[in-house]
């Protein structure tokens, strides 16, 4: 069983209507894009969305492991 937590930031949080959620994956593993499809009823990840797993940038093909912290957010605008 793979349990992950998901965080959404900024405009993507507004769009999702939530800041975070916990997810239990049915199979042994899932990629980031599979998780996104699951939480959005089958949609694909919007262009320019940034993805991090355990606070490191990664891409949509990354396979998630139990306990991972996944985050989706728009391009950063700090500094």
């Amino acid at each position: 069983m793979v349990n992950i937590s998901i965080k959404y930031f900024a405009s993507l949080r507004d769009r999702m209507g939530r800041a975070d959620e916990a997810l239990e994956l049915d199979g042994d593993s899932a990629t980031v894009s599979e998780v996104w499809a699951k939480v959005t009823d089958g949609q694909s990840i919007p262009d320019s969305t940034l993805i991090s797993v355990n606070m490191e940038y990664t891409d949509a093909d990354t396979v998630l492991k139990d306990g991972d912290e996944l985050a989706f957010f728009p391009p950063v605008t700090g500094g």
Partner: protein, 153 residues
């Protein structure tokens, strides 16, 4: 190397001086700093305040990574980054990057590197409140946070 992500406003000159006073004496010949300031307009509209959201933990981690990388690439004495989050107002300092070195070329290069990569990688998002009371996310061009960056934009 010190990275501070804080909600409170700060006076860049004071923060630099306090940090410098604690450095080992005589090792650096100077300090190069960049201070980014909040503007009071954007896209033609007056902005009354701005709220910076961040990803606690990831933000600090990535700024520290960038500072560590700068310290590997250039011979510097020390570096300091202060970045605010939360609500701020026009002319507030948003970010400070300061680098001390024996030779100023290294301080210039390292300071520029840190602010460029911080802007590309550190997870912060600006949300402006206009005089009309409208809140809007500041959208920049999409950028790959893993790519080489420049400060030409």
């Amino acid at each position: 190397m010190k990275v501070i992500v804080q909600q409170e406003s700060f006076a860049p000159g004071q923060v630099i001086q306090t940090f410098q006073d604690a450095l080992p004496r005589g090792k650096h010949g100077g300090v190069v700093s960049f201070v980014g300031t909040m503007r009071d307009f954007n896209d033609g509209e007056d902005v009354v305040s701005m709220t910076l959201e961040h990803y606690p933990g990831m933000t600090e981690k990535h700024i520290e990574q960038v500072c560590a990388e700068a310290a590997e690439r250039w011979d510097i004495v020390d570096s300091l980054v202060v970045h605010r989050y939360g609500e701020m107002f026009p002319n507030d300092a948003i970010v400070l990057v300061a680098v001390w070195s024996a030779h100023r070329a290294n301080a210039f290069d390292a300071c520029r590197f840190i602010i460029n990569y911080l802007k590309a990688r550190a997870p912060f998002w600006k949300c402006e409140t206009t005089t009309a009371g409208e809140k809007r996310w500041v959208e920049h061009n999409s950028k790959d946070p893993k790519a080489e960056v420049s400060d030409s934009e």
